[in-house]
């Protein structure tokens, strides 16, 4: 009798969730694009309506590349790809981009200096907040096997207006469970930042904001993976430890 060798090698949970997410967006007509990990300050900030010396820059800590005079950084958000893409591609379009981003923060169980984001950008003659809701709800509904709700909360990002935070209903406790470790009893989990593309961003890309409307959304992927599986420490995702990887 031949002993079967261990079944299959394991694919990283982030790869898995990314593949699944891309498949949902592809069904909605989105195309996949990519951007560089080393970005210019211009595309990462200035083109996204976040000028130098604006307090919004404090919302993210940046890694700068030597020499500082070159104004190159490790991208702090995948949104950096928005103006890059729009300079070379005229609307209408619907794109998603997944990639690694970097924040100069101290690391602990919920913070790493590198993590993944999935970003979406859709521009047409009449994109609206209602469309944003539709797309996002459809996405989360397909990601979780049970029924989920989403809600918008007013928020601020320099490159969108209106700007919102998106919460998804807690898939663990399904409601206001006071003991729930995931949502701390609120019944909601923060998953995404989103909004309507700011006219300044369109102007950076030389797209006429009077003719075109865009929606954009971005989510931290590691966090989503951790929430989905109950992973307690983000650093495990980069540990290269098979005892971790082979559980997926």
């Amino acid at each position: 009798m031949i002993i079967k060798e261990e079944k299959k090698g394991h694919i990283h949970p982030i790869t898995q969730l990314l593949a699944e997410s891309v498949s949902v967006f592809k069904d909605l007509g989105f195309g996949v694009v990519e951007g560089p990990e080393i970005e210019t300050e211009y595309y990462n900030f200035d083109a996204l309506n976040t000028p130098h010396n604006h307090p919004a820059r404090d919302m993210q800590d940046t890694f700068w590349i030597k020499p500082r005079s070159k104004n190159l950084l490790l991208r702090s958000q995948v949104s950096a790809i928005q103006v890059r893409y729009m300079e070379k591609n005229k609307p209408p379009f619907k794109i998603i981009c997944a990639g690694r981003v970097f924040r100069n923060e101290a690391t602990d169980a919920t913070h790493e200096a590198q993590f993944y984001q999935l970003e979406g950008l859709a521009v047409s003659r009449d994109m609206s907040l209602a469309n944003l809701k539709g797309i996002i709800h459809h996405f989360f509904q397909n990601l979780f096997s049970k029924k989920v709700e989403i809600r918008f909360r007013p928020s601020y990002f320099p490159f969108v207006e209106p700007g919102v935070e998106v919460d998804v209903s807690c898939f663990k406790c399904v409601g206001k469970g006071k003991e729930c470790s995931i949502c701390k009893g609120t019944g909601w989990i923060e998953v995404m930042g989103a909004g309507m593309v700011h006219p300044e961003v369109f102007k950076s890309a030389k797209v006429d904001p009077k003719k075109w409307k865009g929606l954009a959304f971005g989510m931290g992927f590691d966090r989503l993976v951790m929430l989905k599986y109950g992973i307690e420490d983000i650093r495990l995702l980069y540990s290269g430890d098979l005892r971790f990887i082979k559980q997926f």
């Binding site: 694919i11 898995q16 699944e20 101290a106 047409s124 809701k133 290269g240």
Partner: protein
Amino acid sequence: MKVSLNWLQMYFSEKIPNAEKIAELFTSHSFEVESIEKISDDFILDIKVLPDRAHYCLSHRGIASELSVIIGKDIKHYPYFLPKLKKTKTQLDIEIKDKKMCRRYIGRVIEGVKVAPSPLWLKKKIETLGGRSICNIVDITNYVMFDLGQPLHAFDADKVKGKIIIRRATDGERITTLDGIEVKLGNDNLIIADEEGPLAIAGVKGGKKAEIDAKTKNIILESANFDPVSVRKTSQKLNIKTDSSKRFENELSPFLADEAMNEATSLVYEIASGEVGKKNDKYSEKAKPWKVKISIKEISLILGVVIPKKEIEKILISLNIKIEKKGENFILTPPVFRLDLKIPEDIAEEVGRIWGYEKIEEKIPIEKGFKPTENLNFIFSNKIKQIFSEMNFSEIYGYSFASSGEVELENSLTKEKSFLRANLSSYLNEKISFNLNHILFEKDPVKLFEVGVVFGKNTEDVHIAFGCGFKNKKFGDGKKEVFSVIEKIFNILGIKETVEKAISEGYLKISSVDNNSIMELKLDFIIKNSKLIPSLDLKTFISKEKKYKKISHYPRVIRDIAIFVPFGTKESDVNLQIKKLAGDWLLEGPILFDVYDKKDEIGKIIKHSFAFRLVFQSHEKTLSDEEVNNVMKKVIEELEKTPGWEARK
């Protein structure tokens, strides 16, 4: 920003909702409330005010105005009681040398004040917000800042020599701040100075020289407005962050300065008495109102829902926005301190959030004008990952940071991570060796791969690296395994080149360290040389509902068990039995590693022997041999109860 519920209540004649309800309302319509804390008879809400609303909401009145719009109740306005003005002995002369950095400066002398500890109500207000009560004069300036959002400062007038000059510091000029720290200033820093030197770092922090102390008799109240960029630059460069610098760097309307001066004056007179002098108001860059044009149609388009005109008007009016109607358009004049309402989109946001985002119905957009192109990097890398996993290689994600490389970081957190990785092989090799410490059987290989970005002098490329290692040379060196997987990949993707050629031409790099063999190549090479675009079913990637268990760092205890069973007994049944009996400490297994069929004289199989490996581990402690032996004893006892099942020695 910390907000006191009782303080908010002061702005309303009727009782406002409780803290939790208010937090809910703010979360839905304005901003996130991070926490609610009960402090004696008050509740403190920690509100996350973001840069867009920091112009007017870093104050209790601002927060109260938000609440008033949401609950539909007007704000109470307190008239300031201003005493009759007296002619003061001190003449206050003000000169603004840099009008761009200082848009407005209001100074006022109040003579004959009684500096003393603050009355209880004022102390309480400051302390509830986590601040420290200093004395009545200083507390008043802080109170007004937390109330109206306008930072103020008070100087001891007798310590000020000559006129007040608002100017840039000269390079090397020094000031000792109220904290007693000497700070070196530069030409970029705006200071409040007298004819002798610096008195305060404008908008950031006051200096010790003209400090208010118990002996102070005459004061100068300052209510001013400074350019946000210069305050922020100064605050960052000197590394001094205060409640004052925070408000200025988020930009305040100069409009607020006058009202704040009135409130502060009124309070000083009430609490510390004194003779109130005339205001000296140097107002160079006047806050000018602006107009925003928007149509109902535009609002509907942005939000994706039609809101009745009357509703929209009601919301705008409650926000104190003046409305002029011009046909289908509204010409709006926002309040001059609402620096966040500049473009039509800002107005749409106000309408949407107050009306309620939950009322917007979702619509999936139907856009037919766009044909997405396939992203080759994405397709190829994921296809390759699938092939790797079929060949038993598992995926890791490494760190982009490394201790050496071609690209260096300006501000990395540690020395070991001050470069960007130039290859994937180093980390992969480390991880192969690391995982070889946790294999189950001595002869087991560890097979890993990674697909990721590496950085060269002026380039970044996606690389694929994969490797195989063994614990001992006698089991192998991984070469066979890495060759066979790359050949398979070349095969499936229709790569024109052979593996050998790719190696000899330098496209495919192979390295051997200890008993590990590692290969690395650019993803680009595969894409360029592939004769076809592979088909990829993304839906097959996600594995079925997996349950994740935290890894314990206590040592494992490994036990083998071999058992004879009658002919025809299925291995899976024995496996299941053992699993059930092994208990909670069973981490892995039973894993079948040997099978032996015992035959009789004529070659007929009479019984099977199955050998399994079990791995035990606890999350709480190191398991002793004795403890595990006891478990194994019980397992064997139970198994042998089944007729024909016998453990092998």
